[in-house]
């Protein structure tokens, strides 16, 4: 009789997937490092060298809140976020509803809407801003349009995921009652997702606040223009003052929003 230890089943090897992943990660990281001329020691040197950027960060100029131009840029940023989110949310809901397998009147519409959603979602906020500035010109209108499309992307993605996971039984009831597609969506689907949807809109607003802060960098309105202004003049303490103040506001808004979002879902 052989000893038990000789009769052990063979050890499992790590799966091919695991091995492939590790190799993939290493190769990708190496290639990426080459692509950006990654230089760790140089990085450390550059970052630890004394400079006005860090100085400004450590001693920000808080008086920006009293500057007229900064204050109006601040407010404009908030207004852009509110309007962009509101209008985006209004469009995002039907867009998501009619892109589901049960809500789309036919397959062509569904595929078309899904494709449209994919494309809209793949563009980051600044690129939207760039596009609209090129098309419509510098100013808050471009920013508004950019945020409008950007929020549609964010909100409709989250909504679509939720819509794919709803209880289908009420939909069958809606069909059995002789309702039209729209009526069915309104009575059988919408009540199931409304709290989540509101939560997504709030989340979209948070995202838009961040986005509206930076689209000014390409001329689409908001504090981005002030940021660029200060950067150009090397006035880092003012830049950081403005940035930190704004993002303190964002943090507060996020806490409030998170509070409501928790109570919704």
């Amino acid at each position: 009789m052989t000893a038990p230890v000789d009769r052990l089943p063979p050890r499992s090897r790590p799966s091919r997937f695991a091995i492939g992943s590790v190799i993939g990660i290493v190769v990708l990281t190496y290639l990426a490092g080459r692509a950006v001329d990654f230089d760790l020691s140089g990085l450390v040197t550059d970052l630890t060298r004394p400079n006005s950027v860090i100085d400004g960060l450590l001693d920000p100029d808080w008086t920006q809140i009293w500057s007229r131009r900064s204050r109006s840029a601040f407010i404009e940023t908030l207004q852009l976020a509110v309007l962009g989110t509101t209008f985006g949310a209004i469009i995002a809901l039907p867009l998501a509803l009619y892109a589901t397998d049960y809500g789309a009147p036919n397959r062509i519409v569904r595929s078309g809407l899904r494709l449209l959603n994919s494309v809209i979602r793949s563009l980051p906020d600044l690129l939207w801003a760039l596009l609209f500035v090129s098309a419509v010109g510098i100013g808050a209108l471009s920013g508004l349009l950019a945020l409008f499309f950007f929020s549609i992307a964010v909100i409709s993605k989250l909504t679509t995921d939720t819509l794919d996971a709803i209880d289908r039984d009420p939909i069958e009831a809606g069909v059995a009652v002789g309702a039209t597609n729209t009526e069915m969506l309104r009575t059988a689907v919408l009540p199931q997702i409304l709290p989540s949807y509101v939560s997504f809109v709030l989340y979209g607003f948070e995202i838009n606040l961040r986005a509206s802060a930076v689209i000014g960098l390409v001329g689409a309105g908001g504090i981005g223009e002030r940021i660029q202004f200060f950067q150009g003049r090397g006035e880092w303490e003012k830049l950081w003052g403005l940035v930190i103040l704004f993002f303190l506001v964002v943090l507060v808004v996020e806490q409030i929003s998170a509070f409501f979002r928790r109570r919704l879902v």
Binding site: A32, V36, L78, L127, L141, V214
Partner: protein, 276 residues
Amino acid sequence: MTATTRPPHQRMPEPPRELWRPISWAVLLVLVAWSLWGLDARWERLLDAPADLWNLGELLFGDMAFDRTGDLLGDMWESIAIAWLGTIMAAVVAVPLSFLAAENLASRATTLFVRQILNILRAVPEVILAIAFIPLLGLTPMAGVMAITIGSIGTLGKLFAEVTESISANPIEAVDAVGGSRIQRFRWGVLPQVLPEIASFILYRFEINVRASAVLGVIGAGGIGGTIAQTLQFKQFEVAGLGLIIVVVATIIVDIVSGAIRRRILRGPNRAQVTD
């Protein structure tokens, strides 16, 4: 009334008075009205906007500069590389940081402190971080990498901490029960439960960062964003249009591949395996 129904004899109960509904609507209306009234936008351009967009569309996509495809693909690869390195570096920092932010692994005071730091890091958009890194590192991709890194540490740290907090205590107890050290408790109790989700979040953040890094170039931190911004500025629309398409396609591809890998990670191997 038809034969099917008669008027009800009893009265139907009243609808409940939910005050938060009208209040919420009122708040929303006030905000929107204030914003609409206050926003200094040239609203008359709104009517021209569809036509302007159409014109831009024609300029961008009508006759694209396919000879520049190689260059643009190289730029997109640079953006992807920036996103990848930034995500990996952020993960390397965030993983240990997150264990300090997890309430089932560290003390209350520590977690509160670390979590606040993570919140602050999450708040600032990458573009602004990139603006800060450019004077330090020059108009190079490394500025973008650092921006992405700092920007991601916050989110990843928070997500990892949440995952760590949600694991079951049983394997940890088991290690303690057989007298394992803290490191062993970590290696055998925590890590196996946490690794798939952490990997999944890293990939998810990578998808987001690809979008962010595509845009960092706009301010000069490397990648395809810079090319698009420049060509738009100098009215080389044929190149910009192709660049935009490449961004969209590449982002979608990254999303699909990353999504598939993430599902595979979370689902686990198909065949039951003998574990050692």
